[in-house]
């Protein structure tokens, strides 16, 4: 306190070495408080209802914000076409000649279907509603409709498999019936006859875990069966993902902690020094996660990685402080004075490395992907905590260690001299000399690396697939492979077709109505309906009169006309009754002209579109209203394959469809068309859920539509999860480019400010630019898809890689000032500063490697690439920077005389 140097040190740091007790208590109390606020409402949600409980979110849809138009449209279409999320049960038997079509297997399929029907219970929140499996929309052999020829040329509606078959022949008959129905072939039954898939729609996808468990329980009752069962479907994948995510947090994060702990112990030998960085790391990780929960954010694939990002970053600065402290303590022999010296050197670089790291992560807030935003913002908060507690708690903790202990430690270790005798010290010394002498070679190597990076980046493949977030041997992936090998594809994409608003507005012309009226009169005269002419004339006059009365409202015109016709029909004389009846039918059919999806022209177009889509490799099958019409038409006409076609008139289509609705499941139709016949949906089954495949399909269709303009101003719009994935990926790629370039400029500005020199600022950016370039170059070269975790890495590398450059350059400047020239500064630079950077690379780099133990691929990707980024950034800083300084010495140190 009475030391003169006290005046120009940071007051916060000063406070912490003056009042170490208060600082350490502050850290405990604030961390515990945050944890309590987060944990209490999660355990007792009722008691602490005003606080936010922990919520887990594994829904890939949430990669887009709730009000994103793509999502709103997707949800609206799901509702309009009554499409639910589905659990798929695959039944595969490739041991018998007839595949799954044996009485034994089919009877178990039947039993499982009946069991699935019972998986419904009153909704917890709304007991009036049922929650669980939607029985009426289940697709299973015993619950789908079969339409086929009955005896005497009659048509027959029945369940495909009303009861389990008793003989081999009956079992094969089930197969043959299903294969004859386009909707079922490749969907319910595989074309190779080896597999059946049951589709169990859920009222809410979050019930999939329960449903799956119960189904597995039922299957287990049978013991070993000749057929195998696979339970899959997106909701199942999501729930499983949630479980594994916690596994990741429970295993990988503590493991990372342990690895960091062991490495620190190895470097600093004494346990007591390792404790403070570990405590800081833990406090930061816990408080950040606590804040995340308190603020009502969800635990998502991204946010679950927050602790594992914060912990290594949190120990970074502590390593610098401890490293420097030991070097100096041996000389100064006073913990307080040593700390003040250490802080004088390190305070500015630490502040700036923290600010750049924060800038890197905070820039993620600029991406349009909410989970990525949350991740970025909270890691940034965590990094701030880490800085705060590192410059306060770490010194405070050292103040708790008695001077004698420190002295004993310093004496025992022998300080600087000993350090240089270690393998690492030795190696760095040699490397420093080599780089100084061969700086041109280093720079040429850098150029070559940059060239390779540029080439690799050009080859980057942008792609993602949430199913591939599971490892290749995971049961979800196995089920996915098996199902896609037997069926036409398990990834669903949907196309909605409707008339464009613009076309509808410009085509309300009724001028041809009079012409149609005339031909109707001729037809009625032929049918000998009396008085058709005067009645229709009267009708035409009335229509005109109504139009004049309410010119603006077509709906009012319609209701007035309806009223008029009802009246006329009620009061019609016997002679005019039939004519008025026909007039009413005429008006009704005029209105039905709006029922677009009964028009053969449009159904033919849909058919053509469908044929084109199925010609694409990745599309296994397409289902549409056109298939329904064709199938029923064929069965009405004696099952003749020639009659598998769209009939010629819209009335024929309407009558075909009403016949179809005489079934057990009339509501099936509304999955393909809305009851007003204004919108229709086309289902695609894709064999791959890769975004690039879906993108290719979307592009191909857009090209096809351009060449084959749809009739009646029809537009095709995509929905379904595969499309949502493409949408968020596009946003992410563009968003990442923006956020990366934004934060690159911010960091550059900070560097220029820190070094008060444009040249120094640019120099500081070089290692990180090379690092990021190389990492993405390698990703492009090895063919690793540019997916979500890879995209996020750019921001991370920006924040972390610049740290080493800051430390190196700041120390280089200081050392050159001390030693008089760069040549004489190289030696010391490759002493303590280079060692601190190397230690950092090793501790933090290895700290991320436990992510490899995680069962989910994105975590593994992040683990490997961060370790690689840190290693590269370290090497780049230690090689390129000294080489560049050697090259640019005259400009960097202008006051200095020629090299000496």
């Amino acid at each position: 306190m009475n030391s003169p140097s006290d005046n120009d040190i940071n007051p916060l740091f000063k406070f912490s070495i003056d009042k170490p007790n208060i600082i350490s208590r502050m850290m405990w109390v604030s961390t515990l408080l945050i944890i309590m606020l987060a944990v209490l409402p999660s355990i007792w949600p009722k008691t602490f209802s005003s606080l936010e409980p922990l919520t887990v979110d594994t829904d890939p849809e949430n990669m887009l914000s709730e009000d994103e138009p793509v999502r709103l449209f997707h949800n609206r279409m799901k509702e309009e076409f009554s499409l639910n999320d589905i659990v798929v049960v695959g039944v595969v038997n490739d041991k018998t000649e007839n595949g799954v079509y044996t009485p034994e297997t089919l009877s178990r399929v039947h039993e499982l279907t009946e069991f699935a029907k019972t998986l419904s219970w009153p909704d917890k929140e709304n007991p009036e509603q049922q929650a669980g499996v939607v029985e009426v929309d289940m697709i299973a052999p015993s619950s789908v409709e079969n339409i086929e020829q009955g005896g005497l040329g009659s048509v027959k509606f029945s369940w495909l498999m009303p009861e389990p078959p008793k003989t081999e022949e009956e079992a094969l008959a089930v197969r043959d019936r299903a294969m004859n129905i386009p909707f079922l072939k490749g969907t319910l039954v595989s074309e190779d006859g080896k597999a059946i898939a049951l589709y169990l729609p859920l009222t809410d996808k979050h019930l999939s875990y329960d449903v799956r468990e119960k189904l597995l329980g039922k299957i287990a009752e049978w013991g070993k069966t000749e057929e195998s069962y696979y339970i899959t479907g997106l909701p199942v994948a999501e729930d499983t993902f949630g479980v594994e995510m916690f596994y990741q947090m429970a295993i990988s994060a503590p493991l990372a902690m342990l690895v960091i702990f062991l490495l620190l112990w190895w470097f600093f030998k004494k346990l007591i020094f390792v404790v403070s960085p570990m405590l800081v790391a833990m406090a930061c990780a816990l408080s950040t996660m606590g804040l995340l929960i308190i603020s009502g954010n969800t635990i998502h694939i991204m946010s679950s990685m927050i602790p594992i990002f914060i912990m290594p970053i949190a120990v970074l600065d502590a390593i610098h402080i401890l490293s420097d402290f030991f070097d100096r303590y041996a000389e100064i022999k006073d913990r307080r004075k040593t700390l003040i010296e250490v802080m004088k050197t390190l305070f500015a670089p630490m502040l700036f490395t923290t600010l750049t790291t924060i800038a890197g992560f905070a820039s993620l807030a600029l991406t349009p992907i909410p989970p990525v935003q949350v991740f970025g913002v909270f890691v940034a908060i965590g990094v701030f905590f880490a800085w705060f507690w590192t410059i306060t708690f770490v010194p405070a903790f050292i103040m708790f260690i008695p001077e004698e202990k420190l002295a004993a430690f310093a004496n025992h270790e022998g300080g600087e001299i000993d350090e240089e005798r270690t393998a690492m010290g030795h190696f760095l010394k040699l490397a420093g000399n080599g780089i100084y002498k061969q700086f041109r070679l280093v720079l040429i190597m850098t150029m070559v690396a940059a060239g390779i990076a540029a080439y690799g980046i050009g080859k980057i493949n942008i792609n993602d697939n949430p199913i591939k977030w599971f490892g290749p041997d995971h049961s979800i992936r196995v089920a996915d492979r098996v199902m896609n090998s037997h069926f036409a594809g398990t990834y669903m994409a949907y196309l909605e077709l409707e008339q464009s608003a613009e076309y509808a507005a410009n085509n309300t012309d009724n001028s041809t109505q009079l012409a149609r009226m005339k031909s109707e009169i001729t037809k009625l005269n032929d049918e000998e309906i009396p008085n058709a002419e005067p009645v229709f004339k009267q009708l035409a006059e009335k229509i005109q009169q109504i139009k004049n009365t309410v010119p603006d409202s077509t709906s009012k015109q319609d209701s007035l006309l309806t009223l008029y016709l009802d009246e006329q029909l009620d009061n019609a004389s016997d002679e005019e009754f039939d004519a008025w009846d026909q007039a009413q039918i005429f008006i009704d059919s005029e209105r039905q002209r709006n029922e677009l999806f009964k028009q053969p022209e449009l159904l033919e177009y849909m058919s053509k579109m469908q044929n084109y889509l199925t010609s694409l490799d990745v599309v296994g099958k397409a289902n549409s209203l056109a298939d329904v019409v064709k199938t029923v038409h064929r069965e009405l006409l004696l099952g003749d394959q020639k009659e598998f076609r769209i009939p010629e008139t819209s009335n024929a289509v309407a009558q075909t469809l009403i016949t179809y609705q005489n079934s057990h499941r009339p509501q099936d139709l509304w999955h393909f068309v809305t009851p007003d016949y204004r919108k229709s949906s086309l289902w695609l089954q894709l064999k791959s859920g890769d975004n690039q495949d879906m993108s290719a399909v979307e592009e191909a269709l857009a090209g096809w539509v351009k060449k084959n303009p749809p009739p009646m101003g029809i537009e095709a719009n995509w929905f379904g999860l595969t499309h949502i994935n493409v949408a968020w990926q596009e946003k992410m790629v563009n968003g990442m480019i923006e956020s990366f370039s934004g934060s690159f400029l911010v960091v550059l500005a900070m560097m220029v400010l820190l070094f008060r020199s444009l040249l120094w600022g640019i120099l500081a950016m070089i290692p990180l630019t090379v690092t990021v370039g190389l990492i993405y170059g390698v990703i492009g070269l090895i063919g690793k898809d540019y997916d979500m975790p890879v995209a996020v890495l750019s921001a991370l590398s920006l924040g972390l890689a610049v740290d080493y450059a800051i430390h190196f350059l700041a120390r280089a400047r200081e050392t050159v000032k001390e030693m008089g020239s760069w040549k004489s500064a190289v030696g010391p630079m490759f002493g303590e500063p280079a060692r601190a950077i190397s230690r950092n690379v090793i501790v933090v780099g290895f700290g991320f490697l436990p992510l490899l133990a995680a069962p989910l691929v994105p975590y593994q990707t992040v683990g490997i690439f961060i370790a690689a980024i840190l290693f590269l950034a370290g090497v780049a800083s230690l090689m390129i920077l000294p080489a560049m300084i050697t090259l640019l010495e005259r400009f960097l140190f202008p006051g200095q005389t020629a090299k000496g």
């Binding site: 048509v155 009704d588 809305t674 009851p675």
Partner: protein, 275 residues
Amino acid sequence: MKKTVQNRLASLFLAAGLLASSVAFSAPSVDEIVNKTNFVAYYQGQDGKAKVKMTITDEQGRDRTRQFTILRTDEPQTDSLENNDYKGDQKMYVYFNRPADVNKMVFMVWKHPGGSDDRWLYLPALDLVKRIAATDKRTSFVGSDFYYEDVSGRNLEDDNHELVSTDDNYYVIKNTPVNPDSVEFSYYTMYIHKETFLPIQTEYYDKNGALYRTNKTLKVDTIEGFPTVTKSSMENLKTKSKTVMEYSKVSYNLGLPEEIYTERFLRKAPRKWLR
């Protein structure tokens, strides 16, 4: 639930002026109740005609309508309940008017209680008369929530009937299928009005014992002396779809000729009888 049925019906029958009609003093047997119900619901008069407007409303509130005329002629020449003489074969002719694109479509039935019915469908736009194979009768009637069997009437012999309770207004009958595998319900309960013997509410329970389908009588009129349901609804609690049928221009004993129930009249509708 029963309370609300009673209240609703009490007012309903007051309106219909039926309370004044005769009151049965001695309790009838289950067999008498179900036969009388079967009679008033499906066999009143030698023949009959009604215009029907059907409105199907789905879970999302989207509705669509169909209009058709039903003609019906009974084989037995008597309405006598003695020895259940009223019971026998029936013929039905359902002529569709609306929507316009199904105009002239005809659905014809020769009903044979105890055997399988003959069914035909005429699709004018395809110029096609099609026999519908005798299979399941519990399929949708033209996309509505009523089953074909609800329109034509279920054979009494297909169920075991049990009088569960009797109160001031209703006989409550529980009907359990003789052959449970042939139907989707485990049983259904009918609330039968004591004076008119009209089924006022019918509740179907699925194989898990959950109520999933409800038929309600919403309006009753006495037409030519016959208590007649003129508005009824069927609600499917699983699909949350609901269908309302409104009957108008109901008349009995018109003297409909037998010949209209033949294939020839499918293509050329008996216009005179359909007005």
